[in-house]
């Protein structure tokens, strides 16, 4: 009478899917992303194979290139690790960008004022600590309001990013300005620069240690267990005698501290100075890294490395094939979209309905 159309299909949640199949689906999405990216190169009149070839050789072809790729991957991985506990707790911290910047400010303060007063190793440790403390402080503010009054953390942390970035702009043109009028903070003295190991600043060692730390923390520590419970159900957490407010604040302090540490590494290891775009979008990209890795620290290594390859490779593309380097953001976006989309096919299945009333299950 009213509605004779049969729904073509409806959705049902999967009851279970073997990890192998889940990763097969993710791999398939990866292939789809490569194909779409290839299509874009075709549209631009470039040969996709040589374009991808340029990306690979540009990022991994030479020792120097590999070093630079790793240098890009280090802050991505570090920040993804920082974000993971928050997201596990379903606390949507999108303020890593600001927490990185705050950390960089803390580290820079000591780099500028104590470079000649402290021996280098001590100075570097103090800078790292200052970075962690400042990052943690910047994360604490929204966490406190969330815990106390339920203030929306997504929007709050987002706003905090731009406040601290504005502060750096002020420092650049004001109190920390080098040559008057230059709007630039002078380069760090060599004693405030992270030493290199295998040609890359030793931040890569720090993030690898952090990877293991976060893995153990999330999986085997009491804190990690509390975070998982709070993320699943705050009521259950209270029932089990956990203080949700305390866990929220503590986790954000940790997250901010790690982000701050990343800020310190970028300022001291990569840039050797502080400027307002010290985070340069890493805080945002890292969120996608953490999420796509299913919050698994080891998967984050792979994904941050993949994005670093795209980033570094694309700048080669610019010189070799005269394609603007912003192609890397486009390709990165396509990869992210495809991988986000693939999660759907892991979590849901389509149930097709036929006229006979029988059902065929499509994977």
């Amino acid at each position: 009478m009213h509605n004779q159309r049969a729904p073509l299909f409806h959705l049902a949640k999967r009851t279970s899917l073997s990890p192998a199949r889940a990763w097969t689906i993710r791999l398939a999405s990866f292939v789809v992303a490569i194909l779409i990216g290839g299509l874009i190169f075709l549209l631009l009149g470039d040969d996709p194979v040589s374009a991808y070839g340029a990306i690979i050789t540009g990022s991994l072809g030479k020792k120097v290139a590999i070093r630079q790729t790793v240098k890009i991957a280090v802050p991505l991985l570090g920040t993804a690790l920082a974000i993971a506990p928050c997201f596990k707790m379903r606390f949507w911290n999108i303020g890593a960008e600001g927490q990185i910047t705050a950390g960089a400010i803390g580290a820079t303060f000591f780099a500028l004022n104590y470079y000649d007063k402290l021996p280098s190793p001590v100075l570097l440790i103090v800078m790292g600590l200052a970075g962690a403390v400042c990052g943690a402080f910047w994360a604490f503010i929204p966490a406190f309001f969330k815990a106390r009054w339920g203030t929306n953390e997504t929007l709050f942390t987002l706003m905090m990013n731009y406040i601290v970035i504005g502060l750096v702009k002020w420092l650049q043109g004001g109190p920390w300005e080098g040559k008057p009028g230059s709007q630039i903070i002078p380069n760090f003295a060599s004693s405030a620069v992270l030493p290199k190991v295998f040609g890359i600043h030793c931040g890569w060692i720090i993030v690898l240690i952090l990877t293991i730390f976060i893995y153990v923390y999330m999986r085997y520590s009491k804190h990690g267990y509390e975070i998982a419970v709070v993320g699943e159900s705050e009521n259950t957490a209270r029932y089990a005698g956990m203080s949700v407010a305390r866990i929220t604040i503590r986790t954000m302090l940790l997250s901010g501290a790690i982000s701050g540490l990343v800020g310190y590494m970028v300022a001291s290891g990569a840039n050797m100075t502080l400027y307002y775009s010290v985070a340069d979008g890493v805080g945002f990209t890292a969120i996608t890294v953490a999420w796509l890795a299913q919050l698994n620290p080891f998967a984050m290594i792979a994904i941050s490395f993949l994005l670093a390859i795209l980033d570094k490779g694309a700048s080669t593309l610019q010189t070799v094939m005269n394609v603007p380097a912003s192609i890397s953001d486009i390709i990165t976006g396509i990869f992210l979209f495809c991988m986000l989309a693939s999660e759907f096919f892991i979590n849901y299945r389509l149930v097709f309905r036929h006229d006979s009333g029988k059902e065929a299950v499509s994977e």
Binding site: M1, N3, Q4, P7, T15, Y225, R238, A240, S243
Partner: protein, 513 residues
């Protein structure tokens, strides 16, 4: 097909994952008749009706409205068929006004004449002597106001097939009576009415015909005038009620929890518990009866330290130590006092368990804090999980399999098993057998009784009076947050408790005025 048949459902089947909510159910709904859909909790009544309301879509089967086959894929389709459902959990948008909620989703001129809507609402209200003020925001409304609004909403849409899901659960007796009058008036209007319930006296009082569901299957139907509560009950549970729950006499009962003048006011200022006083003894099972929402949840949560208490005291008296006051303490502080309190909450996956974790992870929920150092120790919980899995026959592929994916009975076994394993001195359970099959229910009864024999003070909040009467030693009846009486379960009868559940003893119908 009968002349006055409004809806006919044929061979409807609906599965949720591995769980069959409805299998092969056929049912007809007639005009000018009140049909009562009867069944225990979890028997699939709501799911079945949700398929008429367009909330769920059946996996297989056919639905006919006025003799023609229809496919109801959305609530909109349901409205087009003249079907309106009043859900147990109200579907209202709290920041919108009554009038705005009523016209939600309706077709009509693009520009909304909200005053006209208000006028029509007033009309409907007058016809059935309701009262709803169109401008009032839903967040300012009481529960019964919200329900009234839901009914107005359905009537406004001109529905002639009305489905009400447990409408009386939240109403006072007077409100219930008023609702029934309205339903009778609508029946006289020629509307088809379905009322989902598990309360037999409502069926007897209101319905013309009763259809019974049992564990997702159609168990039978009959005219109400031709049947009696006994027959309906038999149909609901599938066999005559002779529960035969073993009930040994308490041995040396000792005061364990002394609760005096407990008053709880929720965040919206509504008094949930009003001057509640009673004593729970070690070595006995104290049953708590009452219609849903009479303060059972708040009572247990207050004892567990999860509910802020306005006034009163909860004194915990262990066997060999001085008593301690629990009011004003967090669950953590209570546990630090050495009070071994076990609590099986009503919301199993939302409060008692972590759905995404396996049995082991859930065992940790009780033991994690006792672990020394910064790491969790999974060995003991894992062994405990294994033990519970074997002893209580939990059907799960492994102790690491997320408990969310287990069936309701198995979820409850995990929860009760864990709580008992903590060797508590007080064990509180809320609706411990809701949605469970008979066998699992008996497993739970036996577990509770064995705890009682160990000297544990067991508090059993239940909804099935037969179970309360056969399992418990004493029964406390709550009505609207007040204690309306405490009776001896061995001598009390069902009618007596039923009466106490609906009005305070001795005060007649004035109690809620």
């Amino acid at each position: 097909m009968q002349e006055n048949c409004a809806v006919e459902m044929r061979n409807i089947t609906k599965n949720f994952g591995p769980v069959a909510a409805n299998s092969n159910v056929s049912l007809s709904i007639r005009r000018g008749e009140i049909l009562s859909l009867l069944g225990e909790n979890g028997s699939g009544k709501t799911t079945l009706m949700n398929m008429l309301a367009g909330i769920y879509y059946p996996d297989s089967g056919q639905i006919f409205v006025n003799g023609e086959e229809v496919r109801i894929t959305s609530p909109k389709d349901a409205f087009d068929c003249g079907i309106g459902m009043i859900h147990q959990h109200f579907k209202l948008v709290s920041v919108l006004s009554a009038a705005e909620n009523v016209v939600l989703g309706l077709d009509g001129p693009a520009v909304l004449d909200i005053k006209e809507v208000g006028r029509r609402i007033k009309e409907i209200c007058e016809r059935y002597s309701f009262s709803v003020s169109p401008e009032k925001k839903v967040y300012d409304m009481s529960v019964s106001e919200k329900q009234t609004l839901e009914i107005v909403k359905v009537l406004y849409r001109g529905a002639d097939i009305l489905i009400l899901d447990e409408p009386t659960a939240v109403l006072t007796p007077q409100e219930t009576e008023k609702l029934f009058d309205v339903l009778r008036a609508m029946k006289a209007d020629g509307k088809a009415i379905v009322i989902i319930t598990h309360k037999l006296h409502e069926v007897m009082e209101l319905a013309d015909r009763v259809a019974v569901l049992r564990r997702g299957e159609f168990a039978g139907e009959m005219m109400v005038r031709d049947t009696n509560p006994q027959e309906m009950t038999n149909m609901m549970v599938g066999r005559p009620i002779s529960l035969n729950i073993e009930r040994p006499d308490p041995v040396d009962p000792a005061e364990r929890l002394v609760i005096k003048g407990l008053t709880v006011v929720d965040s919206e200022g509504i008094t949930k518990l009003d001057n509640v006083t009673f004593t729970a003894m070690g070595g006995e099972i104290l049953g708590i009866a009452g219609i849903a929402g009479s303060g059972q949840k708040e009572l247990l949560e207050a004892v567990a330290g999860l509910q802020p208490v306005k006034s009163g005291s909860i004194l915990y008296t262990p066997e060999d130590a001085p008593p301690s006051e629990l009011v004003g303490k967090t669950p953590k502080q209570i546990s630090n006092l050495g009070v071994s309190l076990a609590f099986v909450p009503e919301d199993r996956l939302g409060m008692g368990l972590v759905g995404g974790m396996g049995m082991t992870g859930n065992m940790l929920l009780r033991s994690w804090r006792r672990d020394k150092g910064v790491f969790i120790h999974a060995k003991e919980p894992s062994e405990l999980a294994q033990r519970i899995k074997e002893e209580l026959e939990v059907m799960t592929p492994s102790v690491r399999y997320p408990v969310r994916r287990l069936s309701g009975g198995n979820v409850q076994k995990v929860l009760v098993g864990r709580e008992i394993a903590s060797s508590p001195s007080v064990l509180m359970t809320a609706y411990a057998v809701r949605g469970l099959d008979i066998n699992t229910s008996y497993t739970i009864y036996n577990l509770l009784t064995s705890q009682k024999m160990k000297g544990v003070a067991v508090i059993f909040v239940g909804e099935d009076l037969d179970v309360l009467l056969e399992l418990c030693d004493r029964i406390l009846v709550l009505y609207d947050g007040k204690v309306s009486g405490i009776v001896d379960a061995r001598t009390a009868d069902k009618e007596q408790i039923g009466l106490m559940m609906t009005r305070l003893s001795g005060k007649g119908g004035n109690a809620d005025a």
